[in-house]
């Protein structure tokens, strides 16, 4: 029993320690922002890795999620004779919740894990060490551009996800199930608010972008420099950042959408 308590204590202390370390780490990384501004090339190269390479999965998932929403929404709404509100349902679900959340989860799996593995491997092969000895701060040169690229890419990916999703809902609702074209768009436009819904969705995805990329680069930097350590760090990135996304989503939703 006492052992269990001790285990719990050690576990939470370790967690707190990691949290503290990741904060200090973040502070140092932020010091690298001026360098990224001076040398946008560094960020652009990373945008390719985290953004361009994630587009396909975001596009396909967005389309399918939108189509499923169209199908399920129609089945529910048609019982109340309110199938014309399908556009509202699809659009609000996407821009408020599913767009930011699902794309952040996909982003964690696709780009976050890759970031952790890449940085972890750079650490294991002494590349970060070598940079330090060349008087180049790896936190500025390697981590900061990746963090920035992740934060910029996330809202763009979420927007693409939502837009494609709305199109998917339209395909199913209007194209297959015969909802009125005009009503679909008109009701959507009447109910979706630019500030309330779209902007809040963008803010959500920004927060998720920070959380996921931060966790990914920290796990990579903090990894044990062995192949096993890298493997575990990669798993931790996906698990922790997914949990963080869901937790932040709850908090943000409570703050933004309570009336």
């Amino acid at each position: 029993m006492l052992d269990l308590l001790q285990e719990l204590g050690r576990w939470s202390l370790k967690g707190l320690q990691r949290l503290g370390r990741s904060n200090v780490f973040m502070l140092y990384v932020l010091g690298g922002i001026p360098m990224c501004v001076r040398r946008p090339r560094l960020v652009i190269t990373q945008m390719f890795a985290v953004g361009v390479l994630s587009i396909l999965i975001i596009f396909v998932s967005g389309l399918f999620v939108g189509m499923v929403l169209g199908l399920q929404g129609y089945n529910t709404l048609v019982d109340f004779g309110a199938e014309e509100s399908l556009g509202v349902l699809v659009a609000l679900s996407l821009v408020r919740e599913l767009g930011p959340v699902v794309s952040a989860l996909l982003f964690a799996g696709r780009a976050g894990s890759a970031l952790t593995a890449e940085i972890g491997l750079m650490k294991a092969t002494e590349q970060l060490s070598a940079m330090e000895m060349m008087a180049v701060d790896p936190l500025h040169r390697v981590i900061a551009p990746r963090l920035l690229a992740g934060i910029i890419a996330m809202p763009l990916l979420a927007a693409i996800f939502s837009a494609v999703g709305v199109f998917g809902g339209y395909l199913v609702g209007v194209g297959m199930l015969g909802v009125d074209d005009g009503a679909f768009w008109a009701q959507m436009q009447a109910s979706v608010e630019i500030r309330e819904d779209i902007l809040n969705g963008v803010i959500k995805s920004l927060v998720f972008g920070v959380a996921v990329t931060w966790i990914a680069v920290f796990e990579g930097y903090d990894t044990l420099p062995t192949s096993e350590g890298i493997g575990r760090a990669t798993t931790r990135t996906v698990v922790n950042s997914s949990l963080a996304v869901l937790a932040f989503d709850f908090i943000l939703t409570a703050l933004m959408f309570n009336k």
Binding site: I44, G51, A153, L156, S162, V164, V166, E193
Partner: protein, 159 residues
Amino acid sequence: MVEYRKIEILVGAFVFAGLLALTILAMKVSNLTDFGGGDGYEVKAKFDNIGGLKVRAPVKMAGVQIGRVAAIGFDNKTFQAVAVMKIDRKFNAIPKDTAAKIYTAGLLGEQYISLEPGGDEESLKDGDTIVLTSNAVVLEQVISQFLYSKAAGDDKSGS
């Protein structure tokens, strides 16, 4: 470097696609050109019961949206609800004796204010109050009325 040029082009395309998606969300999914911005004038209306009317609900005239509910307040003296409507500037010739009614779009849809024009020469200006109002149709009342009339053997329901 050819390699870097390719990366740059693809990243450019990605950013463009993202911004395009945002624009679509703003223009097509919501309505950027919609009311709610600063352009317009405010008109008040008092109701005994506003039902489920919410801020930002549409204000319509002959079915066309001309503005939105900007705020909902409560008058402490008359115990009435005060709905402040923001009407788009384009619709600046609404007669002074216009009536305001609260309707529901569909059975379960959102509630909105419908303005029904009167015949006054003078038109509503910023800060004016609409006097002629009729209340929201509260679903519970409708249902109880319906049940009541059913029980009374009358087949007409008032909806």
